[in-house]
Symmetry: C2
């Protein structure tokens, strides 16, 4: 497999693990010191994996059933040891209180080949916010 | 210069150009088809450079005088053709209506060596938002 094919497969497996709320499956795609910049505070958090697992499981627990997690327009730029991927991700489902919600975010994934294996070392996904008095997160945008 | 030194210098020049509201200086550090995921909607926008310049100049015009633009904790991971940088950025100053403001964002920059020259091909900077009823952008966070 080319590096790009390997990385595309890794990201697909990561997305499937998120849908299934399988923390072990997600962690298997990440370096131990992965740095995550997510939708909720803090600005970012980093490994060790125990902390990442704790954050992830707390987030998984806010959803009833599987999480819709669809990646769209994934572009991969890769050398033999360093790669990045940009795209959009749709995150949706039913929260534990029964409320359905869905949003689109932009996502940047950074990878390194470590010990011969590609790993996600940084995951940055976010939405912008409205620069009016509300400062509300723009959770109603779609990829154009 | 090593690739890392070259990239660090490029990012410092880019930051200085933003502070000076020098659109030509910023565009000189970017590939023509750069993809920007910024603080304000849309989810992201892309080159050609004319569009990027328009977005940038509109943002510059909202500030009175120079823009504080401080990058902190910059980590650079580079191969010979592909690199990414993660860090924090403090953006502040005085808006045209006289209001002072400042926030910290997390920033991911992705670069490629194109025609022998490193260029920024993707800039993703964002803040998270509060997962309470407010959905307010978390503009009061600091790097820990």
């Amino acid at each position: 497999m080319t590096d790009e094919t390997t990385i595309r497969d890794l990201i697909a497996r990561r997305a499937a693990a998120i849908t299934a709320k399988d923390a072990d499956g997600v962690l298997a795609t990440e370096a131990a010191d992965v740095v995550i910049a997510g939708l909720a505070p803090p600005l970012r958090y980093a490994g060790p994996a125990a902390d990442t697992r704790h954050q992830m499981e707390a987030w998984f627990a806010t959803w009833r059933g599987p999480i819709d997690y669809e990646i769209r327009d994934l572009q991969i730029v890769s050398s033999d040891t360093v790669a990045f991927c940009i795209g959009f991700v749709r995150i949706g489902g039913t929260k534990t209180d029964g409320e359905k919600n869905e949003l689109w975010a932009r996502q940047t994934l950074c990878l390194q080949k470590l010990g011969g294996v590609w790993k996600v070392v940084h995951d940055h996904h976010s939405v912008p916010f409205y620069m009016d008095g509300s400062l509300r997160a723009a959770i109603d945008l779609k990829p154009n």
